[in-house]
């Protein structure tokens, strides 16, 4: 698989590690009670795991050390877009 890092250019996926699906923004805790647990549970564990278009966090660890957000098609591994992940998981 070849990933075009916005900084480094096209590189083999070997240089990257993938963390998994972009799970939406990190919830903002309020009182650290049940509601927060529920929100964090969804954020940390539950995944759409889409058949088709998905967004994943890839880390260019053997490159520019940037976290990237990669849009891919899980049916055929086609890469549809790569962007710096800055702020994607912001609250």
């Amino acid at each position: 698989m070849r990933i075009t890092c916005p900084y480094c250019g096209e590189r083999d996926s070997e240089e990257f590690s993938v963390q998994g699906e972009v799970a939406g923004p990190r919830p903002r805790p309020s009182d650290y009670g049940d509601a927060d647990v529920k929100a964090f549970h969804a954020y940390v564990h539950l995944r759409a795991n889409d058949f088709g278009l998905t967004r994943e966090y890839w880390y260019h660890g053997n490159g520019c050390r940037r976290w990237l957000e990669v849009s891919r098609d899980t049916r055929n591994h086609a890469i549809l877009g790569v962007a710096m992940a800055s702020g994607a998981g912001r609250r």
Binding site: V18, V37, A42, H45, R47, N49, F51, T74, R75, H77
Partner: protein, 416 residues
């Protein structure tokens, strides 16, 4: 048709003209008491045990393609119950016991080969971790032996003890572990279930659910709506797709797991051997091919194929400990889509929708669980109560924190 020595001779004398289909290739009927989605090992075993253990008969297994086309038909066939977590051991050990009687149970030889599973360790810390695991197994009545280096040398003298980057210090051996003939497991359960009246419907994809007042009343398929009082999901890598149809999300990401087989050779290695300082495990099939694999291709995929880096990684691991593999040739590489959970352990539980039951999250290790998964899932569906051996495999364990994380990797699916 029962298989017996007599029968084999009789058939041979009649030029093998009178064999019957192993299972009926059924067309869907409008309604069933229970519909199991997924004609892999787990779905078929579930149907078999529903009929056999719970006396139910109005059951269909719905498979979108041919039975066994999923992970059941593409795994590296390792069976073992050498787990560490108390939530896991009972299920895998029940499975092991069922494997041990399966050919008689099914009157079908699934070629269970208990030639041992040896997990190598390479450091003192790893030895202690394996001792912890072995002890936990023994406490659960499971066989486990901790081998020192000398014992490993006797067990597998061809390993590279002297020139290894990560020297082999010993191994955890489960002698009862081994392999089974994966396709035969599918066919054996299909035959058994079909003989007990289960309809096995191939080329029929579930595309949705019908619900009344929040309760499942059936499945929509590419061959029409099929009504059902209860629906059980056993679709492995496709779990999340089915869950989405029913309106919920799972703690699962579907990743690629690859495997390889070499050209067939005369017997070379005993049982299963796994490398503890890299990603590599290997066994030899009855046909002579060395079947091996390693880590998952950690990205999400439904494509049933992987990429080169993992293959290189696996072969490097192989050459790190078994340099005699060098000239043996990889004949074929393939992959499956594995349902990786956030703690690396499976789920057998009621789904958050009434009438729907969920079995999945088997990661890269559900083949060995096939008999027990079917057995306990059938129990859950028939009795609406979890079977004791699968009681810990709950869906809500992620929100309560009762996770079953064998390797302590945490909530990242592809790390398990």
């Amino acid at each position: 048709m029962r298989y017996s020595a007599y029968n084999l001779v009789a058939q041979a004398l009649r030029c093998n003209r009178h064999w019957k289909p192993l299972w009926r290739d059924a067309a869907p009927r409008p309604a069933y008491d229970i519909v199991i989605v997924g004609g892999g090992g787990h779905g078929l075993a579930t149907a078999y045990y529903l009929a056999k253990e719970h006396g139910l008969s109005n059951i269909a297994v719905i498979e979108r393609s041919w039975i066994g086309s999923g992970n059941a038909g593409r795994n590296t066939t390792i069976i073992r119950s050498n787990y560490r977590e108390p939530g896991n051991i009972p299920l895998y050990e029940l499975s092991m016991k069922l494997w041990e009687g399966l050919e008689q149970e099914l009157n079908y030889n699934v070629m269970v080969s208990q030639r041992g599973v040896c997990n190598l360790f390479h450091s003192d810390a790893q030895r202690d971790a394996y001792a912890r695991r072995g002890n936990m197994m023994r406490i659960h009545g499971v066989d486990a032996e901790l081998l020192d280096e000398a014992a490993v040398r006797r067990h597998a003298p061809f390993l590279d003890f002297d020139n290894a980057r990560f020297p082999i210090r010993g191994g955890l051996l489960q002698k009862r572990g081994g392999t089974a003939r994966h396709d035969a497991v599918v066919w054996g359960y299909a035959r058994g279930a079909s003989d007990l009246g289960v309809d096995i419907i191939q080329n029929c994809e579930v595309t949705g659910f019908t619900l009344t007042a929040g309760r499942i009343t059936g499945v929509e398929t590419t061959r029409g709506v099929i009504a059902a009082k209860k629906v059980g999901l056993a679709v492995a890598g496709n779990s999340s797709r089915l869950a989405a149809m029913a309106g919920f999300r799972l703690p699962i990401e579907t990743c690629v797991l690859q495997a390889m087989v070499t050209e067939g050779i005369k017997p070379l290695i005993p049982g299963v051997i796994t490398f503890g300082a890299g990603h590599f495990y290997i066994s030899q099939s009855d046909k002579g091919g060395l079947v091996f694999g390693g880590d998952i291709d950690s990205y999400k995929s439904y494509a049933q194929r992987g990429n080169l880096p993992v293959i290189e990684d696996v072969c490097e691991g192989g050459m790190a400990i078994m340099p005699m593999l060098g000239r043996l040739r990889v004949l074929r590489q393939w992959a499956g889509n594995v349902d990786m959970t956030m703690d690396g352990s499976p789920i057998i539980d009621r789904a958050p929708v009434d009438g729907l039951y969920f079995n999945g999250g088997w990661c890269y290790g559900g083949f060995k669980a096939t008999p027990a998964s079917g057995f306990t899932f059938a129990h859950l569906i028939a009795r609406d109560m979890p079977h004791a051996s699968a009681a810990a495999l709950r869906l809500d364990r992620f929100s309560t924190g009762h996770v079953i994380d064998e390797n302590g990797q945490g909530a990242q699916a592809n790390l398990h």
